[in-house]
């Protein structure tokens, strides 16, 4: 899954704290190409399977713009600026063709480029740090011999489509979206100081490879490796601490990712997935859908679409077994599992006849808006279609969580995933909608109606401002809002220091004069 907008905060924090370390990004001498001759086909195939499980293509293949595999250019928006995935094909000029296996390993496990510059943790190297040498070897063989080199750099950014609802949208004075101007990642100061990652890595980068725990079953160990190293599930589902490292004390406890909420997937039966059967978890990971539980949208739809659906059943079962074995993380406010909320309810009979058949007024009431925009598919009673191709709105985590973000994001951005060659589409209702662009107030009204009648009624507190934030890619993190003030604060600080120095100098000069 793509690493998203929470991560740039870490860059910011460290940019402030550790801006001194820039010398470390000095150019290193070129290393001769050490691609092994005559790759082992089985090894390349193994590497390919690992690359799918690690979901490398989610970012490094620009599917939005029909980009070539692993040729980069996919814009990963963040509140602090856009990060562009790079070309990781074996091209010598534009890709990683010149990397030795050791350099490749260092890049994916330690976040250090061949030239010594630090990667941003949008690249989930803190997860890949757990990869075994054997798997890194296979991945290297695949990227050197199983991927076609693309010698061209990523296409100009102004020709690129943008991902949906993940982070800040730049707009001009007229409110129109502004396309990024290049595909080189250029974040504003101080987030542009890649060397700041050195200190961060010291704090948060695991130093050891994955080692199976002999006290656990082989299946759970396999699941651990898949969840924590390859699929990097924690990157989204584990909350982050003040320095934006993953908060291991709340592992898999759920966290915001842009406009979406990556729910609690710990083993807790109320706040997490403890109430799901293993079969339901496997079905969800394989298809993006577990009736009566949830459906994948946003970043999770991408994870299913690009990675999870291709994993062997045994791996999905291992993931389920591992997640069920994790330490339960309970939110004290939760009293009922998200999928336990709600029931069928229709206000249809009460609606008819309330207004005439030529009413010229825009509809403002939640029941009317629900009837006009939602009920044709989800049905007047919210139960969805008989075959659940249109899901029930009750017994559904999108409406049952204490955090209503996913309901709001689903209305704004729709649901779009292609699994096993079949595309599932719920249309979006934001400004790009083909069906109808809805206002923040309309979406908040619909969301609250749905939450009250079919979901977690306690969560029916969605405001137009909440929707506005979701429309912009999520509420910006504190540091993003501070960014414009960082330089002035630094300048003021420098002036203050200068004034102190001047004062000290004068005092010393006066003393000297007094002594003289």
């Amino acid at each position: 899954m793509r690493m998203l907008s929470r991560l740039p905060l870490s860059r910011g924090a460290l940019g402030l704290l550790l801006a001194v370390a820039s010398a470390a990004s000095a150019q290193q001498p070129p290393v001769a190409n050490t691609v092994p001759a005559g790759p082992d086909a089985a090894l390349v195939a193994k590497g390919k399977a690992l690359a799918i499980a690690a979901d490398c293509g989610a970012c490094h293949t620009d599917t939005l713009n029909h980009g070539k595999p692993f040729a980069g250019g996919y814009p990963i928006p963040s509140p602090l600026g856009i990060i562009y995935a790079t070309n990781i094909t074996p091209s010598h000029g534009a890709g990683i063709g010149g990397y030795s296996e050791a350099e490749f390993a260092r890049a994916i496990r330690e976040g250090v480029r061949r030239d010594g510059a630090r990667l941003y943790p949008a690249m989930p190297y803190t997860s890949y740090a757990l990869l075994t040498d054997e798997d890194v070897h296979a991945l290297y063989a695949y990227f050197m011999h199983g991927v076609a080199p693309v010698d061209r750099d990523a296409p100009p950014a102004d020709q690129l489509a943008r991902p949906q609802g993940l982070a800040g949208k730049r707009v001009d004075a007229a409110g129109l979206p502004v396309a990024p101007t290049n595909t080189v990642t250029r974040l504003p100061f101080p987030f542009n100081l890649r060397a700041a990652m050195i200190g961060w890595n010291w704090l948060f980068l695991p130093q050891e490879r994955f080692k199976p725990d002999p006290a656990r079953s082989a299946q759970v160990n396999r699941g651990d490796y898949l969840v924590n190293a390859l699929e990097h599930c924690d990157a989204c589902h584990t909350p982050r601490n003040a320095l934006m490292g993953t908060d291991r004390s709340h592992a898999f406890g759920g966290a915001m990712v842009g406009s979406w909420y990556a729910p609690n997937i710990s083993a807790d039966p109320v706040s997490g997935i403890g109430g799901w059967s293993d079969a339901e978890l496997v079905q969800y990971l394989k298809t993006g859908r577990a009736p009566g539980k949830a459906q994948a949208a946003g970043g999770m739809a991408e994870a299913v679409e690009h990675s999870l659906q291709y994993l062997p059943e045994s791996d999905l079962e291992a993931i389920a077994a591992y997640l069920k074995s994790t330490r339960p993380v309970r939110d004290g406010a939760d009293t009922l599992a998200a999928h336990g909320h709600g029931t069928a309810a229709s206000l249809e009979p009460a609606l008819r006849g309330l207004s005439g058949h030529n009413n010229p007024q825009p509809l403002a009431d939640g029941a009317q808006l629900y009837s006009g925009f939602c009920a044709s598919c989800h049905q007047p009673d919210g139960a969805g279609s008989a075959n659940q191709a249109y899901p029930s709105l009750f017994h559904n985590t999108a409406t049952g969580l204490a955090n209503p973000a996913n309901l709001v994001a689903a209305i704004l951005y729709g649901v779009d995933r292609t699994v096993d060659g079949k595309q599932v589409l719920m249309p979006r209702f934001d400004g790009q909608s083909y069906v109808q662009a809805l206002t923040d107030v309309q979406i908040a009204t619909i969301a609250n109606y749905v939450l009250q009648h079919y979901g977690n009624a306690a969560a029916a507190t969605v405001t137009a401002q909440d929707v506005a934030y979701a429309r912009q890619g999520g509420k910006p993190p504190l540091l993003a809002t501070l960014q414009p003030y960082i330089v002035p604060v630094l300048v003021l600080g420098a002036i203050a220091v200068l004034l102190v120095l001047v004062a000290l100098w004068r005092r010393r000069a006066r003393r000297r004069a007094a002594r003289g």
């Binding site: 030529n358 009413n359 006009g372 589409l425 249309p427």
Partner: protein, 550 residues
């Protein structure tokens, strides 16, 4: 991206000023905005949201729904009336032998009449462009099928048309590209009907439809709500509003409740400005380089006549005296019967299959072509009306409703009129709209060509009825309108007897385009929207070239 300028006094200026925000105006706005031109769209009617139409429809009385009131649920601007029939508002004054067959239902609303169309997206046949030279009747177009074919492809792409990619199921089969999506799957009724009638020389084939059979550009897949008319509740069907909103995302400015009533021309008879009344009835002026009137087959000729000025005393673009003449529609009729087997009509969209065997043939030298649609609107409502009228009650009533609902058949027949200058739209001398602008009057006579076609189609319908052992077999003798309004700004090579050229550019005004149904010189027998859209996109190319020269 360029945007029109809206001045402090409410006036506006743009590169291109488009009057009318339906499918044609919308497609042109979308293309020219995408090319970076500043585009202003002026729409006389209201801007509505989809949920309003959905909820108004659900609140409609049974009587309106039973008798296909597609107009009444769309709220109208008080200053821009459009026809209403429940009850009739007589906004369009009809006269002549077949005036009652010209009761058109068109919307003056942002997005236009495709809010309530059925999405049938037919092409004319190649021969339809050469009616005079082939059959000695009607008129030839100024362009041929091959000239319009690339634009048909672009229109199908823009509107997301799902059609049969098997040439044996196409009409016409002359295509340079496949349909963007494969055909809407046939329900049991479509399959069974074709199986029975096609064995007897009728040719029932899939209707190409601007409707999703898979997720398409963010548009959901049709799930068969069966109420395309009067409103698709999920947006699976193309509406002009989609092109309008797409254009807006590219910088176009769309003003609702802007009733254009006056057109300025300069010494070279180029258009310099159009004037409109806003919702407060204040007048404003829009200046631009190029102008498009795409207000619908009735409102465009009406506006051209209303806007007569000193240089153009008979109306704008009317030196030929052809503006408002040659009014056409596929006057049609319905045939209903109860089949001797269940056909389960009502699964899927409103219309999915159509008999096109009598679309063309040597007979067209003598009489009208025909198409016969197997109407797929649920039969429950008419079945109920009939069963109630039989005086039934209780279990017998339920059983009769069920029998008629599953065995009931409704065929919608279209006929092909010829352009006749005497079928004419004029400005009413007595009736004014709320802004004091003259209402349209239309004199209509379908002509003997159509009347002979009616006789021929009666024989075809009787044969179909016999094939299904029909009972309650009724052919409605009253001709009805089909809202395919054509001819009022007719295309031709000769400026003396036509209004626009092959690009829909007005012969009289170098910077004015009048694309849409009004330009069509032959009606063929199929729904006009795709041809209108293709003409619109062709006009957009012409405007684009013209802007490049300026």
């Amino acid at each position: 991206m360029s945007r029109p300028t809206l001045h402090a006094n409410g006036d506006a200026s743009a590169d291109v000023v488009i009057v009318g925000s339906g499918v044609v105006g919308g497609l042109i706005a979308d293309q020219l905005a995408a090319e970076g031109h500043a585009v202003l769209v002026l729409e006389a009617g209201l801007r509505i949201q989809r949920d309003q139409a959905v909820e108004n429809w659900r609140n409609m009385p049974f009587e309106n729904r039973l008798h296909s009131d597609f107009q009444g649920l769309y709220p109208q601007s008080p200053d821009a009336p459009a026809p209403l029939y429940f009850p009739e508002n007589h906004y369009v004054g009809l006269s002549g032998p077949n005036g009652s067959a010209f009761k058109q239902g068109y919307l003056r609303t942002v997005g236009g009449t495709t809010w309530h169309w059925a999405a049938s997206s037919w092409r004319h046949l190649p021969v339809d462009f050469r009616m005079q030279s082939t059959y000695g009747v009607g008129r030839d177009w100024a362009i041929g099928y091959d000239d319009l074919e690339p634009y048909y492809c672009r229109a199908e792409e823009a509107m997301g048309v799902a059609g049969p990619n098997d040439p044996a199921l196409q009409s016409p089969a002359e295509r340079s590209k496949p349909y963007p999506m494969d055909m809407v799957p046939w329900a049991y009724g479509d399959k069974r009907f074709a199986e029975v009638v096609n064995a007897h020389g009728f040719r029932s084939i899939p209707i190409p439809q601007a409707r999703s059979t898979r997720p398409w550009n963010g548009r959901p897949t049709c799930c068969g709500n069966n109420n395309c008319q009067p409103i698709c509740p999920i947006g699976a069907m193309y509406n002009g509003i989609h092109s309008i909103e797409s254009a807006e995302r590219k910088g176009a400015l769309v003003l609702a409740q802007a009733v254009v009533y006056k057109i300025d021309t300069d010494e070279a008879n180029r258009i310099t400005a159009v004037h409109w009344y806003d919702a407060e009835r204040k007048s404003h002026k829009a200046t631009g380089k190029k102008f498009v009137l795409a207000c619908n087959g009735i409102e465009t000729p009406r506006l051209l006549l209303l806007a007569a000025n000193a240089r153009n005393p008979n109306g704008i673009a009317n030196s030929s005296d052809q503006v408002g003449r040659n009014m056409m529609d596929h006057s049609g009729m319905h045939c209903s019967f109860v089949a001797n087997e269940p056909l389960w009509i009502g699964r899927g969209p409103a219309q999915s299959s159509c008999i096109v065997g009598p679309r063309d043939g040597e007979f067209r030298a003598q009489y009208s072509a025909t198409k016969i649609i197997l109407n797929n609107i649920s039969q429950v409502a008419p079945a109920t009306e009939k069963a109630l009228a039989m005086g039934l009650s209780g279990k017998a009533l339920d059983e009769e409703i069920r029998r008629r609902a599953v065995c009931g058949v409704d065929l919608s027949i279209s006929l092909e009129p010829l352009p006749d200058p005497n079928n004419r739209l004029t400005l009413s001398a007595t009736r004014k709209d709320p802004l004091g602008l003259a209402c349209p009057d239309i004199h209509y006579d379908v002509g003997d060509y159509v009347r002979r076609g009616v006789a021929a189609v009666h024989e075809q319908l009787k044969t179909i009825g016999q094939l299904f052992g029909a009972t309650d077999f009724v052919i409605n003798e009253n001709l009805n309108a089909n809202n395919h309004i054509m001819g009022g700004t007719i295309m031709g090579a000769d400026p003396r007897d036509s209004v626009v050229d092959g690009d829909c550019r007005a012969h009289d005004h170098a910077n004015l385009w009048l694309p849409g149904g009004g330009a069509m010189p032959s009606a063929s027998v199929v729904n006009t929207t795709l041809s209108m859209a293709a003409l619109g996109i062709r006009a957009a190319d012409s405007i684009s070239r013209s802007l490049a020269q300026a």
